[in-house]
């Protein structure tokens, strides 16, 4: 290796990586070109860090346990929605505000546009019905199954609620077992209890 080669290597290693502002500009530019199919970020809430993702249609995914499942969250959306997915914290001001207001007890209904594309068929009917359960009230898996058109599909309704891609905003925490037991929850039963107490339903 001679002087020029060494100088090139040295100059290359001294060149900084891409500046942070360039990455931010890329996200904006991608959105302007209609190429940002999925944006995501993590948000701090009283029930821990949650991951949130939006498409151009609306909020598509909320997930508890951000630190544990961050990579999986991004890969799953890349696979199921679009690989054109970028971290874009500044695109979630509305989501952040509505969630903050909800956890402060000042908001009883979300006004965020939703993208239902991660749901389908019977499951989507169950979740759309669940979205109409008012703040502070509860329902049961059996009622949801019946409302979605199949009184015997209680287990399928439970599965649909367990796979709810939009917890908190589609309030699957308001659905309890017949007889009053809390039943399961993606964020853990203690989160379900916390939310029901927050809403005054427990």
């Amino acid at each position: 290796m001679n002087d020029v080669e060494r100088a090139l290597k040295r100059a290359g290693s001294r060149t900084n990586g891409v500046p942070e502002r360039a990455t931010r500009r890329l996200v904006d530019s991608a959105a302007d070109h209609g190429l940002l199919d999925v944006a995501y970020t993590s948000l701090d809430t009283p029930v821990g860090e949650v991951m949130v993702a939006s498409t151009q249609r609306g909020l598509v995914r909320i997930s508890f346990g951000a630190s544990l499942y961050r990579d999986h969250f991004v890969e799953d959306l890349s696979w199921r929605v679009s690989p054109r997915i970028l971290e874009a914290p500044s695109y979630f001001d509305c989501v952040r505000r509505e969630l903050d207001e909800y956890f402060e007890g000042k908001r009883t209904e979300f006004e965020l546009p939703l993208d239902w594309s991660l749901t389908g068929g019977f499951g989507r009917r169950v979740l759309k019905r669940t979205a109409r359960i008012p703040y502070g009230e509860t329902s049961t898996y059996r009622e949801m199954a019946t409302a979605a058109g199949n009184v015997r599909a209680v287990r399928a309704a439970g599965n649909a609620l367990g796979a709810n891609p939009l917890p908190l905003v589609v309030p699957c925490h308001r659905v309890l077992r017949t007889g009053g037991a809390l039943g399961g929850y993606g964020g853990g039963p203690e989160v379900k209890e916390f939310l029901l107490k927050l809403e005054g339903a427990l």
């Binding site: 001679n2 002087d3 020029v4 080669e5 100088a7 090139l8 290597k9 040295r10 100059a11 290359g12 001294r14 060149t15 990586g17 891409v18 500046p19 360039a22 990455t23 500009r25 890329l26 530019s29 991608a30 070109h33 190429l35 991004v74 890969e75 959306l77 890349s78 696979w79 679009s82 690989p83 054109r84 997915i85 970028l86 971290e87």
Partner: protein, 157 residues
């Protein structure tokens, strides 16, 4: 389940510094950022059509190389912009030396310029350099060699 291409965010984190450094060498620090944006937007546009087992680094550097050539063309019609003011202190010398070197690299013919940058900035093997700039491994080796010869002449002065 077949292997999927990684999420664009993961691809970006892995390759953005490579792309940026290549562009600083190829078009200079002033043009590098615009070229970077254009490269990544083109990549994002084509991304969902990529095959899962693609060589992503080679692919994005190929795009960057084309953008660098385009920038060079439109630049030659414009007056040369003023250089960055030298940085302060001990680093000033290094920064000045680097700037001189990049200027010399940018005056090489496009293929030699890309080949030298890919070899010494991005650490690519000759075979991969050939793929990125669209020539054989031998031709890539020749481009690196000839580029270095020219730089050596400039460097002596």
């Amino acid at each position: 389940m077949s292997v999927a291409i990684p999420p664009f965010q993961v691809f970006l984190q892995e390759h953005r510094d490579h792309v940026y450094r290549f562009l600083v060498a190829s078009v200079g620090p002033q043009e590098a950022e615009d070229c970077f944006q254009e490269t990544l937007i083109s990549a994002l546009r084509a991304y969902p059509r990529l095959r899962a087992n693609s060589n992503l680094r080679g692919w994005v550097l190929t795009i960057a190389q084309r953008k660098a050539i385009d920038a060079g063309r439109s630049n030659s019609r414009r007056p040369t912009p003023l250089a960055d003011p030298p940085e302060r202190g001990v680093e000033a010398n290094d920064a000045e030396l680097d700037a001189e070197l990049w200027t010399a690299v940018r005056e090489l013919p496009p293929k030699q310029r890309a080949a030298v940058a890919l070899r010494f900035i991005n650490d690519l093997e000759h075979q991969e350099i050939g793929k990125v700039i669209g020539c054989s491994e031998q031709a890539a080796r020749r481009n690196v060699h000839e580029g270095l010869e020219t730089l050596r002449e400039v460097w002596k002065q």
